[in-house]
């Protein structure tokens, strides 16, 4: 048995992000000073340098910015998972995340498709995945 690589904690920038995943909440940041949307979560706004960042809740709806079907992988967990869809998803709140699109038909997933958040639960964290929007 192999398992998905999981975030390494403690990691001060992202511990609150990962704690929220156990409640199936996908969080992102928005700067209270300049309004910039920030992802991955971090201590400083890369737009204005402010440390005043609000950890906001995403609705989990987005659009595929790019995608590939991975058919070969050297890492045992992902090798067993091939073929799978690896994608960049633009969330409606204005941030982009790399993730996996869970589907039974990998060849039908296309750029610009709408997708919706789904979760894969592990003991300490849940991993945000996406599936085609219904």
């Amino acid at each position: 048995m192999t398992s998905r690589p999981l975030p390494r904690q403690p990691e001060p920038d992202s511990d609150a992000f990962w704690a929220a995943t156990t409640k199936h909440e996908l969080r992102y940041q928005q700067c209270r000073r300049c309004g910039r949307v920030v992802f991955f979560v971090r201590a400083i706004c890369p737009g204005c340098g402010s440390g005043d960042l609000e950890l906001k809740l995403s609705r989990g709806a987005g659009t595929i910015y790019s995608r590939t079907v991975v058919r070969r992988d050297g890492q045992p967990f992902f090798r067993e998972r091939t073929p799978y869809v690896y994608a960049l998803v633009d969330l409606d709140e204005g941030f982009r995340v790399a993730s996996e699109i869970v589907t039974s038909d990998v060849d039908r997933v296309a750029i610009s498709d709408r997708v919706q958040l789904t979760w894969e639960d592990h003991p300490e964290v849940s991993i945000p995945l996406f599936e085609p929007a219904s």
């Binding site: 390494r8 990691e11 992202s14 058919r71 070969r72 992988d73 890492q75 967990f77 690896y86 982009r96």
Partner: protein, 399 residues
């Protein structure tokens, strides 16, 4: 440093020939290559006063290499930004020479992933050392290197209609160039390729799909390799055994993720214009383009970003063999065979400088007639997520 006209030149080069040979480890290959490249420049180890090292062969970048070779450098430069490290080193060496702090700069490189049977290591600290917020959100979805570049290729196809056939043209051209390079062909045999001859677009499309739209033959090789480059000050360049390859201009830029980032544009879109402006030349003047070919899509993007064609037109630009060494209408691409068909140990940037210098000397196995200007562009780390671009413009005539 804008406006600085560094007067420095590549004076010595050496490429370690073997692609699958466990007789020597990386540190030994770096050291042997250093001696040969210095001989090529008519110099010795005692002449080296600046050492540049990406740290791929020992624990402390620069230190163990200096000790192994018995060097006493005044200047030590130890950037590790993957495959573009050596283009940044060339720029650093120019600055050190222009500042009067160095006269003979030595760059060495070696890795042996093939004979050592080690995978290309995980990218950029992922899974190693201190965890980071970025690593934590990326690692759960795999860190498949081909997939990272495939995301770029897929988006490029979506925005501009770039086809797999057009990407394949790049692999076809570099394999044709490899045919003329005995080191490349011996290497292809040594790593076990059954077919080492020319390939067609159909061969690329019929090779196994790794991550759509990238096939096996869209991907670089994994080989052993190493080499060294010696960069010297103007006064030394005047009395070399071989013609100097003058460094006319350099530029670098970083690129990373963000919500508004267009992943079909690489750091070369910034580093390229900086280097061309400093060199006082334009892409149309370039005879030889040594562009980091980790994957076919990397080359296509770099051609656009460096200004050889407009953004989005890379696909049609590479058609019809335009980039072959003996074809007019565009620069000769990766005339040694490139990472796609000669060697790719992991950080190929040094070989871009070596082959560019060979061309300006008239020593390439796919020699461009009367080659006067070359560009070497390294793209280090990962095209799709975060990378560093380093551009170096080289010329046969003294600036």
């Amino acid at each position: 440093m804008t406006g600085l006209r560094p007067r420095a030149a590549i004076a010595g080069i050496y490429e370690y020939p073997y692609r699958n040979n466990s007789s020597y480890g990386p540190l030994a290959i770096k050291a042997m290559s250093a001696v040969r490249a210095l001989e090529d420049a008519g110099l010795t180890l005692a002449d080296v006063d600046a050492l540049y090292d990406a740290g791929e062969a020992a624990a402390h970048p620069g230190l163990e290499v200096a000790e192994y070779l018995g060097l006493d450098p005044d200047v030590l430069g130890t950037t590790d930004v993957g495959g573009s490290s050596f283009e940044l080193f060339a720029a650093d060496a120019c600055r050190a020479i222009a500042a009067g702090e160095a006269r003979v700069a030595l760059l060495t490189y070696a890795e042996t992933p093939r004979s050592g049977r080690v995978a290309i290591p995980p990218m950029a600290g992922t899974g190693r050392g201190q965890p980071s917020s970025a690593d934590n959100i990326e690692a759960p979805f795999g860190l498949n290197i081909v997939a990272n570049y495939a995301l770029v290729a897929a988006r490029h196809a979506y925005q501009y209609g770039t086809t797999p056939e057009q990407l394949a043209e790049i692999a076809v051209t570099t394999r044709a160039h490899a045919q003329r390079n005995p080191m490349a062909i011996a290497g292809l045999k040594d790593i076990g390729l059954k077919h080492t001859g020319e390939i067609s677009v159909a061969d690329v499309l019929n090779s196994r799909m790794i991550a759509d739209p990238l096939h096996m033959l869209d991907c670089c090789l994994v080989t052993d390799g190493g080499g060294a480059v010696v960069i010297v000050a103007e006064d030394l360049a005047a009395s070399l055994p071989k013609p100097p390859a003058w460094i006319l201009g350099t530029g670098m830029a970083v690129s990373y993720q963000g919500p508004d980032r267009d992943i079909t544009v690489s750091a070369a879109a910034k580093s390229g214009p900086r280097a061309f402006q400093r060199a006082g030349v334009t892409p149309a003047d370039i005879d030889v383009a040594m562009l980091y070919d980790s994957f076919t899509i990397t080359v296509l993007m770099l051609l656009e970003d460096l200004g050889f064609c407009a953004k989005g037109e890379g696909g049609s630009y590479v058609e019809g063999g335009r980039l072959r060494f003996d074809q007019p209408g565009g620069p000769a691409l990766n005339t040694d065979g490139g990472g796609l068909s000669s060697n790719h140990p992991g950080m190929r940037g040094l070989f871009l400088l070596i082959e560019a210098a060979r061309q300006l000397r008239g020593e390439s196995t796919a020699q461009v007639a009367n080659a006067r200007l070359a560009v070497a562009h390294g793209n280090g780390v990962l095209l799709g997520t975060r990378h560093v671009g380093g551009t170096v413009i080289l010329g046969r005539e003294r600036p």
